[in-house]
């Protein structure tokens, strides 16, 4: 990358392989977003031509285009044939996708979600949670599925299994009106979760519009009630390129 990289996250480039493991288009998205945020690329003006950026940064045009199309999806820039690419607005939200490790953050994230659930008649598979929770499965689950977006970019396929007794008590139409974890709050005592890395299968790739086999992050959660029953199971498959897990180690 060039000297114009002001993203501040690629220092330590000298350390072997670490910097190179972050896909170049991800670094470009960070850089370009930073340029727009800080006003180096002002709103309402054109950004430098693709070829100039590619030459300056020492990357291929295709990679620049890949980063551009991400920003276009976010609604930050817009390319017009023959007239270059204009900055429409400053980035509205964060770029990185966090993975919550506490209930308040989980609730907050569920409240910020704007997506429609699709009910699933018959689950495609039952997630195997036995490797990270001691909770006991209940008799029947109501299954919901949805694709979540952030800043207009789809990033997660989520499948939730909710204890049928809860679904019956609140009425299934509640899931369309209220954030999921607000609904579940009174029923839950404890969350066990596992976060793993995988590659996008064909369906995931199609649903969240990423290349087949691109890295994904799989977040599986078991929500236990006070009796140790699993009244909620969740499996979220996130596009991996913008996931960032931050933890303080005591």
């Amino acid at each position: 990358m060039s000297k114009t990289d002001t993203s501040g996250t690629t220092d330590m480039t000298s350390a072997f392989a670490f910097a190179d493991a972050t896909p170049i288009y991800v670094k470009l998205v960070m850089l370009f977003r930073g340029n727009i945020e800080s006003g180096i690329w002002p709103v309402g003006e054109n950004i430098p031509p693709l070829q100039t950026l590619a030459d300056d940064l020492g990357v291929s045009r295709a990679t620049v285009r890949q980063a551009m199309s991400f920003l276009e999806e976010e609604g930050i820039i817009q390319g017009v044939r023959g007239r270059g690419t204009m900055v429409l607005a400053k980035p509205k939200g964060r770029l990185w996708l966090p993975v919550a490790d506490n209930w308040p953050d989980m609730v907050l994230q569920s409240e910020q979600v704007e997506a429609e659930w699709a009910e699933i008649e018959k689950p495609l598979w039952e997630p195997d949670l036995s490797d990270f929770t001691d909770g006991k499965l209940v008799d029947a689950y109501h299954v919901l599925r949805r694709v979540l977006s952030q800043n207009g970019v789809p990033y997660l396929v989520g499948t939730s299994y909710i204890d049928q007794r809860i679904a019956d008590a609140v009425g299934t139409e509640a899931f369309a009106k209220q954030p999921l974890f607000d609904i579940l709050d009174p029923y839950l005592a404890h969350i066990d979760q596992s976060v793993r890395i995988d590659a996008a299968d064909a369906e995931t790739a199609y649903l969240i519009d990423i290349p087949l086999n691109a890295p994904t992050v799989v977040v599986r959660r078991a929500g236990l009630n006070a009796q140790g029953e699993i009244v909620y199971q969740g499996e979220g498959i996130l596009r991996g390129d913008f996931v960032r897990v931050e933890r303080d180690l005591a």
Binding site: M12, S14, A15, F16, A17, F18, D20, A21, T22, P23, V26, A62, Q66, V99, D101, N102, W103, P104, V107, F132, D185, L188, A189, H190, I191, D192, Q193, S194, V195, R196, I197, D198, A199, D201, A202, E203, A205, Y206, D209, I210, P211, L212, N213, A214, P215, T216, V217, G223, G240, D241, V243, R244, V245, E246, R247, D248, L249, A250
Partner: protein, 234 residues
Amino acid sequence: MEKAVRTPIVDFDQSDSPIYLQLVTLFRRQISQGYWPVGERLNSIDTLAQQFGVATGTVRQALAFLEREGLVQRKRRLGTIVLKRPDTLAPMTMPRSRADLVRFLDAMKSAPLDTSGDASDGKTAESHVYSRGETPVLIENLRFDGEAFTRSAPPMAQLGAPGFADHGLRQTTTIGTADTRTSQILGIPVNAAVALMSHSLTTPQGEVVLEAQWLIRGDAVNFVESFDTTRVTG
């Protein structure tokens, strides 16, 4: 008898990588997840080409690749047989505390990588490869203030020391892909997912005394966490 393909929606245009390589990964997945069991004969090349919407030559190319990996065997007139499942690694639970972290590294075998040396800013730089059994799983790039650590033990083994109790240790993980050299060292395919975990140990005044960057093969990574659903923080 033709077998159903579980994943009919494939858009090969979404990736820059050659279609046969995308097929390789798709087929490898079919085998690793047991949809194509060991010992079973695959559909004919013509049928596979039709099912996945690609040219027969592309399917042939992908199967040749898998044959070199030892996963399938192609026999004239008999078709393609699945020989074995790809090697996958049992996941490792990522450290959740400093004590965890010291134990985590201690349970593996470490060897220095040749890129060690003194950094220009006076800090010490070291690189290691950690293996579980004979399988390399983690590359570590270390940069630390030599005076803050004793020489009798590796710096990472000292993270739990009382002297660092008031230091913050932040772990930040992102996901990337293996470049050629990483893939060679870790023995994983190029472009396979890797976790980039960076740890920084910071004094109460905000001075960084140690940075440890880990590249871990993606299939080894598992964060296991547990918390109560109380809304009261702090």
